[in-house]
């Protein structure tokens, strides 16, 4: 069983839940940027949560199935067709040998997920099937999918007709509030600079990929200082340090960047806050132009949000048994 890629879309890659444990040598966790939608897709087709699937940003691929399969499409809202006829998202579907799956234009969200019963069967690299594009390994030949690729699929036992209930589907908005924990090098900002970060409405720029999301808005003011040895002359420079996944850096005090799951693991720009783990999926589904507020929460609030997300997962599993 395989999927033939007829048209690759804009940036489509094989991802699973990621490759933890190698960040100390600069290899990021990778994995689906919107883990919730990826989990829902896998559960819909009877896969393990760790199965690999296809993530596509903005423009989704056109594919053909070589054999009958059970599939599900989740994530961003887009018209989906099989052999030209509309089919629903967030449901498991049966497709036949030779059937073609295609997508229309993005209506809401940014990233769509296609799971196939049996999972994408590429070799594991360092314990994961996720693509790490900068390093050129993992996924399908270490790169985004291209037209002509034939992507192998494992053997599954999915069944059609499962549906994710409406209240367990994410809502996509063009105005979002992203919760962050302040800290790291935030003491380098003046009080006014910190207020600017939290009180402004930021607009997501087109520079928004698996590595990071860049926002436009006002510039932030830094405290004056004597340059620490090795830090660099700009007030936003630090002696190169590790970057948390989700951390917000502000090079030169302009255009904050939220690092995502293919993060560069470290560098010389001060980070001033970190997106909480429960809101990384939300960031993943923002498309350019999305108006974004950063709201400061405590670590305890971040942990409570994480626990609430875990409880939602339990609900999702129950719904898709």
């Amino acid at each position: 069983m395989a999927i033939e890629i007829l048209d690759a879309g804009l940036a489509s890659s094989v991802q699973d839940r990621g490759r933890p444990g190698y960040y100390n040598v600069g290899i990021p966790p990778s994995g689906a940027l919107d883990l919730w939608s990826a989990l829902a897709a896998n559960l819909l087709v009877g896969n393990s949560p760790d199965a690999a699937l296809i993530e596509a940003a903005y423009l989704a691929p056109k594919v053909r199935f070589t054999e009958p399969a059970v599939i599900a499409v989740t994530g961003a809202t887009m018209p989906v067709t099989v052999n030209g006829s509309p089919v629903p998202q967030w449901e498991s579907l049966a497709v036949g040998a030779g059937d073609e799956l295609a997508f229309g234009y993005l209506e809401a969200g940014a990233r769509v997920y296609l799971a196939v019963s049996g999972g994408i069967d590429v070799p594991e690299v360092l314990g994961s099937r996720s693509t790490y594009g900068l390093g050129g390994f993992g996924g399908f030949e270490g790169r985004n999918l291209r037209a002509g690729d034939v992507v192998p699929v494992g053997i599954g036992n999915g069944r059609p007709g499962l549906v994710v209930p409406g209240d367990l589907r994410p809502r996509f908005d063009r105005d979002v509030t992203v919760r962050v924990v302040l800290g790291l090098y935030d003491y380098r900002l003046t009080d006014a600079g910190l207020a600017t970060l939290l009180d402004s409405t930021w607009t997501l720029t087109p520079v928004a990929d698996r590595i990071g999301f860049r926002y436009s808005g006002p510039s932030l003011e830094w405290r004056e200082r004597v340059q620490p040895f090795g830090a660099g002359s700009d007030p936003s420079n630090i002696v190169d340090a590790g970057y948390p996944v989700g951390s917000i850096q502000v090079p030169g005090g302009v255009e904050p960047i939220v690092l995502h799951r293919d993060a560069v693991s470290g560098g010389g720009y001060a980070m001033v806050a970190t997106v909480i783990s429960a809101d990384l999926d939300l960031v993943a589904q923002c498309s350019p132009g999305t108006r974004t507020r950063f709201r400061a929460v405590s670590l305890d609030e971040a942990l409570a949000a994480r626990a609430a997300a875990r409880q939602q997962e339990v609900e999702l599993r129950k719904a898709l048994q």
Partner: protein
């Protein structure tokens, strides 16, 4: 909030603890980071996913479903205390040689292409670095860069990229600013320089460091073809000690051929590094390290 006077603990969301030992770079801060990272690793704390030593700080990536942040912080503080209380720490590590073709045509061509992003329109990055550091010639700069060894103070940015800090007193540290605006291209295996750090670009891509030369030896090998990569695709580890050896174009081609044939091995030796002994007489200590590398 005020600047830290000692280690500063801070949360990077709910999955990261970042500990900043110092705002400025020093061998002492980096050595302490290495020692803490090693001891934390040895504890095999359940719920800890990554321990990432950086230049003067470190990051711990953890799963808060498995370890409470407060419990993690307490354990890290305990290790930091234990390391601080130990009078003469040593780091078990290795020293190896990286051959470098300084002033090579590949990086010079790239430097020429991106001259509009550079501080000094005339000449190349090496000439700029020599002038910046008050050295009489490019040759003198290469001599300063390649004679004393370097310690790998951090691995990261992208897969397997080492940041290296030269093992000399601060007054002998070379310092060079980064490009005014980053390049969109850097040849793979370029030996770069920014601030007080050397790096080797593990893959081709964007970069802002000055470019001094190129090494024929891969440092990141996802296909794991060379014997030194049989266990892992990344060669550099934090704490590795590195000696650069200047080579010419002919030797560069010879080593490339060995790499292509899959026979190249890094010249390397295990060493233990003592910060106290190093600080007491760094030149003598470095000479001993180099004996371990070249003596047999």
């Amino acid at each position: 909030m005020t600047a830290p006077t000692k280690s500063r603990y801070s949360w990077g969301g709910d999955e990261h603890l970042v500990v900043q030992l110092a705002e400025e770079m020093s061998l002492a801060a980096n050595f302490t980071v290495m020692a803490i990272a090693k001891q934390l690793e040895a504890r095999k704390i359940d719920g800890v996913i990554d321990i990432c030593p950086a230049n003067a700080s470190f990051l711990v990536r953890f799963d808060p479903d498995r370890i409470a942040p407060a419990a993690l912080e307490a354990e890290v503080r305990e290790v930091e205390q234990a390391v601080g209380d130990t009078p003469s720490l040593t780091l078990q590590t290795r020293i190896f040689e990286v051959p470098v073709w300084y002033d090579d045509p590949y990086t010079n061509e790239t430097a020429a292409r991106f001259r509009d992003r550079h501080q000094r329109p005339e000449g190349n990055d090496l000439e700029f670095a020599a002038v910046e550091n008050g050295l009489p010639s490019v040759q003198a700069f290469i001599e300063a860069h390649s004679s004393a060894p370097w310690i790998t103070s951090m691995v990261g940015f992208v897969a397997g990229l080492p940041f290296m800090f030269q093992m000399v007193p601060q007054e002998r540290q070379l310092e060079v600013p980064k490009y005014l605006r980053p390049r969109t291209d850097t040849p793979a295996l370029t030996v770069g320089y920014g601030g007080c750090f050397s790096c080797i670009y593990s893959v081709r891509g964007a970069g802002g460091y000055q470019m001094f030369g190129i090494t024929p030896v891969p440092i990141f090998d996802p296909q794991q073809k060379l014997p030194d990569f049989s266990e892992f695709m990344v060669f550099f580890r934090p704490g590795d000690i590195v000696k650069f050896r200047p080579i010419d174009g002919a030797e560069y081609e010879r080593i490339r051929a060995e790499v292509q044939a899959g026979t190249y091995r890094f010249r390397q030796a295990p060493v233990s590094f003592s910060l106290d002994e190093f600080l007491a007489d760094c030149d003598a200590y470095n000479a001993r390290l180099l004996e371990a590398l070249y003596g047999n």
